[in-house]
């Protein structure tokens, strides 16, 4: 339960930290850390405009997407404590539940009949399809490495294994989670949320027609997603056995560091050309394969 609360807290500050980093890096005064949260408040107070083309799907999609993320949150563990709900193969559920939300986000975009949003929908579906294997390879290697098949068990046994090369693995896992998080949240280098051309956007172009309350829900969902992946990263680099207070501090440090990393990447890097993205994403899967081979060596199966 502590993990659940911590993730919510992290999500609260996360987008502000990214914004702050970006404005400092580009030498601007920039908005305060709480600006994105205030924006949500503004959106909540606003009315909505719905396209006359849209129907039921468009109305319920933001709610469904947010619910899927909220429920996915329940299986993420923290420290040595089990997640709120934990069972064998819960990461399969995690991944498919997020896919459920994505399914609705995509069809909601198609519901508007706008070709821009169709474009975004298609890209989202396409890239997340390519991303799916990387996540599963990574989790499969975790499962093979630790011998457990749920988030909670994997992470609590991650560092107790008598294998001194675990650090290598923890770094590869961290790296891969960063990459997966970038693609899943549609950030650089795959997508630039701040671009001002609809033709080149992915996630932002899908929600062109959402306004008011629905848009606020979508934003909350994407902030939560950041914090979820931040928590996963945290779990692969900090041993679960450490003191809980220390862990709480470290958790926040990792989340802040993750936000700053994203901010820095977005300040100093250009977005990929759209047709380079499949290659980029498949490279992540390839790296996951390498991680698998590393584990084969570490567990004395290979050689």
């Amino acid at each position: 339960m502590i993990g659940f609360v911590l993730i919510l807290i992290a999500a609260f500050f996360f987008p502000g930290l990214i914004l702050r980093t970006k404005s400092i890096a580009s030498g601007r005064k920039g908005p305060g850390i709480l600006q994105p949260v205030k924006d949500i408040g503004v959106l909540m107070r606003k009315g909505s405009v719905f396209s006359k083309t849209t129907g039921l799907v468009f109305q319920i999609a933001p709610v469904v997407t947010l619910s899927s993320i909220l429920c996915a949150l329940l299986v993420i563990p923290f420290a040595n404590q089990n997640a709120v709900i934990s069972f064998e193969g819960d990461f399969v559920f995690f991944s498919y539940l997020l896919a459920f939300g994505k399914f609705f986000a995509i069809i909601a975009a198609l519901d508007t009949g706008s070709s821009f949003e169709g474009m975004g929908a298609n890209r989202e579906a396409f890239f997340s399809m390519l991303m799916e294997p990387a996540f599963f390879i990574l989790l499969a290697t975790f499962a093979m490495f630790t011998g457990y098949t749920s988030f909670s068990d994997i992470f609590s046994h991650f560092f107790i294994i008598e294998n001194h090369y675990v650090l290598i693995y923890s770094i590869i896992g961290f790296f891969l989670f960063v990459q997966i998080a970038m693609v899943e949240n549609s950030r650089l280098p795959v997508d630039d949320p701040k671009t001002h051309l609809e033709l080149t956007m992915i996630h932002e172009v899908m929600i062109l027609d959402n306004s008011g309350f629905d848009k606020a829900l979508i934003h909350i969902g994407s902030y939560l997603k950041f914090a979820i992946y931040g928590a996963l990263m945290y779990n692969v680099i900090v041993p679960a056995g450490w003191n809980i207070f220390l862990q709480t501090g470290l958790f926040l440090v990792v989340q802040v560091a993750f936000a700053i990393i994203i901010g820095l990447i977005e300040s100093f890097r250009a977005r990929n050309k759209m047709n380079k993205n499949p290659k980029f994403i498949l490279t992540i899967s390839a790296i996951a394969w390498i991680a698998f081979v590393v584990i084969l060596i570490l567990t004395d199966k290979l050689i």
Binding site: V57, V75, F93, L110, T112, A121, A140, L302
Partner: protein, 663 residues
């Protein structure tokens, strides 16, 4: 008693021909229901009773044939699957067939209903008969009756042609099964499934299994044996497509399972063969499905994908048997078996809805549809649920079976050796990819067909289909949701079947932990549904206090108003097509704009992608063969003198060969 009742039902199918047109439907429905009730009672006896199987002797004294129906738990499971879909399919057929009442005469309807009844009866007999010869007879009846069902609309010559092609391919499959049975007969003196055990104990397992696998695989539609599937399903009326895709192709799976129950060695190799073919079927099936424009053909390719998933489960189960990995065996087989049921539910649902769309718009071309959610809300919601279920998303049933397969694999990883690890990881990647591709495909199918603005006059004029076509689908939906949310009650019996069928020693540990996991999944799914409802209610009251406006879709400063500017199915699949090019061979037909053409005229653009397997395995050999036959046809001169000459040459040849003792 059972036997007599069954024989009465069999014989009562013939009067269908002599009943007035208006009550024919109800008569058939009555017979169908009595069949369903009778067989359900048998299944109940098998599941509830202590006896493992139920034997029923059908003695037809007239023909001196002795059929023995044997129901064990595996048969009972398949009977349940068949019963549900055949029943909903026939309820749906009432509305679907109504427009044809004027144009087709009574005989056509009699043939249609008669074939439907016999398709049902042959399917339940296929899973109950163990004797080889009788099995082949009912297998043949199944092929024939489904052929008659496919060609219901035979005024359309292409449909008749497709039907005949289907019939031929079914017989190729039957030929393989026949050879396999003959081999068993020659070696053991018996021709039945029960003799397989004897055969496998002292002969090569691999060869016979492959023969059976090809024979049953053609029915099931594994790539590359699938070529009949994407042709026959679109040609058939939708309730028939639903039944064929939902349950008839599963008879192939049943056959494979029945044979597998007796296989004794070469298990690892056999498992690998099934697994690799299934992976190919799964991934390629959905990959080809994405580029289809015909809604029913798209669904047909998805059947191949789902057969692939079922096959993955079975393949893993066999590998588990070979490596003495009880968890993998149990979860693999159970996942595959449960997916048989799941697929029969959501695939028939999707086919029924595709039929409703066809009935309302008279087109199956996705590019001409759009905006149907407003015109046909019930159909749209049903199709949406079917789509979510087929993508394997929680909280629907597709997730449960895929989860079982995943769980089996993840659990076996840490104890697996190098090769097993690689196989398992490859399968995980394949399954994950199938999931992603399925989502891609069904967001496309649902989004383009039901959302946005209508893309043609036909879609604009669409009206919701009648209640009688909607209602039977609620039954299917109920099962889909029930299996998704209360999975435990369905998985337990499946565990039971698998344990008995493959003689697994002690499964209690693997089974208990899985049941525990499934309970957690049910809880989490419940929380998910609950969260959605809470948020929706909150949203409802929140929006009430705010100002709500309705306007046109945001067009980024360019709100030009024609429906043609929407995203189409082709454009949706464009970037996917780009990387899948080598496999799909999409061809584009268009004329480029010439340099001197200042005001370009009207142009057409056609994109089409071939199924490379059909092209290279069926079309090319047939073209080659018919070319050869045409060359031989030179001898057919039409002059009687030449034919007499041929006869003389032949006789001379026979004489000479006999003279030199060559024949």
């Amino acid at each position: 008693m059972n036997a007599i009742l069954f024989l009465i039902i069999l014989s009562l199918t013939f009067p269908v021909f002599f009943i007035t047109k208006s009550v024919k439907y109800y008569y058939t429905l009555f017979l169908l229901m009595s069949g369903i009730i009778l067989t359900s009672v048998w299944c109940f006896e098998v599941f509830a009773g202590n006896n493992q199987q139920l034997d029923i002797q059908l003695y037809l004294s007239l023909f001196q044939i002795n059929f023995i129906l044997t129901i064990d738990r595996l048969s009972a499971f398949f009977i349940v699957v068949v019963n549900i879909t055949v029943f909903t399919g026939f309820l749906y057929a009432r509305g679907y067939l109504r427009p044809y009442y004027q144009s087709k005469n009574a005989l056509r309807f009699s043939i249609h209903y008669f074939s439907y009844l016999w398709l049902y009866l042959s399917m339940i007999m296929v899973v109950m008969i163990r004797d080889g010869l009788s099995f082949l007879i009912v297998w043949e009846i199944m092929a024939l009756s489904s052929f008659l069902l496919v060609i219901f609309d035979a005024e359309d010559r292409t449909i008749l042609k497709t039907g005949i092609s289907y019939l031929i391919q079914m017989h190729v499959g039957m030929f393989f099964i026949l050879i396999a049975f003959l081999m068993v007969d020659k070696a053991t003196g018996q021709m039945s499934f029960d003799a397989l055990k004897l055969y496998f104990s002292n002969h090569s397992n691999l060869l016979l299994f492959i023969l059976f696998f090809i024979g049953f695989g053609i029915k099931a539609g594994f790539i590359p044996l699938h070529t009949w599937l994407p042709e026959a399903h679109p040609a058939a009326p939708s309730h028939v497509s639903g039944v064929m895709s939902g349950v008839m192709i599963k008879m192939g799976i049943y056959g494979i399972l029945r044979v597998l129950m007796s296989v004794q060695n070469d298990l690892l190799l056999i498992g690998l063969i099934i697994l690799s073919i299934s992976l190919v079927s799964g991934v390629l099936g959905v990959m080809i499905a994405i580029v289809q424009h015909d809604l029913k053909r798209l669904l047909a390719y998805h059947s191949i994908e789902n057969i692939g998933i079922i096959g993955i489960g079975i393949g893993l189960g066999v590998i588990g048997l070979a490596t003495n990995n009880t968890a993998l065996t149990l979860l693999g087989f159970s996942g595959g078996l449960l997916h048989v049921m799941n697929h029969s539910l959501f695939k028939s649902l999707l086919f029924f809805n595709a039929g409703s769309v066809y009935k309302a718009t008279h087109t199956r071309n996705i590019e001409q549809l759009g905006g149907l959610m407003k015109k046909m809300p019930y159909t749209a919601v049903l199709f949406l649920i079917g789509s979510l279920a087929i993508c394997g998303l929680p909280p629907f049933n597709g997730f449960i079976s895929e989860y079982l397969i995943y769980l089996g694999m993840f659990k076996s990883l840490s104890a697996a050796n190098l090769y097993q690890s690689i196989i398992i990881l490859g399968t995980i990647v394949g399954l994950a990819l199938i999931g992603g591709l399925a989502i891609f495909c069904f967001t496309k199918a649902f989004g383009i067909v039901f959302l946005g603005e209508p893309r043609s006059e036909k879609a604009l004029m669409a009206k919701e289909v009648g209640k009688d076509m909607i209602f039977p689908q609620y039954i299917t939906i109920a099962f889909i949701v029930l299996i998704g949310l209360a999975s435990v009650y369905f998985v337990k019996p499946v565990f039971n079947i698998v344990t008995k069928a493959f003689g697994l020693p002690d499964i209690s540990m693997a089974a208990d932990s899985t049941i525990n996991n499934l309970t957690q999944i049910s809880i989490l799914s419940g929380i998910f549904v609950f969260t959605i409802i809470i948020l929706l209610v909150y949203r409802h009251f929140h929006l009430k206090t705010k100002q709500i406006d309705v306007g046109p879709t945001w067009g980024c400063g360019y709100t030009a108003g024609t429906y043609k500017q929407q995203y189409t199915a082709t454009s949706y699949a464009y970037n996917y097509n780009h990387i899948a090019k080598p496999l799909l061979q999409t061809k584009k037909l268009m004329t480029d704009i010439r340099e001197d053409e200042i005001f370009p005229g009207k142009r057409t653009f056609i994109s089409h992608s071939d199924d490379i397997f059909k092209k290279h395995l069926i079309d090319k050999p047939i073209d080659w063969f018919s070319g050869l036959l045409k060359k031989i046809a030179v001898m057919q001169t039409g002059q009687i003198q030449h034919y007499i000459l041929y006869a003389f040459v032949f006789m001379l040849l026979v004489f000479l060969l006999t003279y030199f003792n060559l024949i």
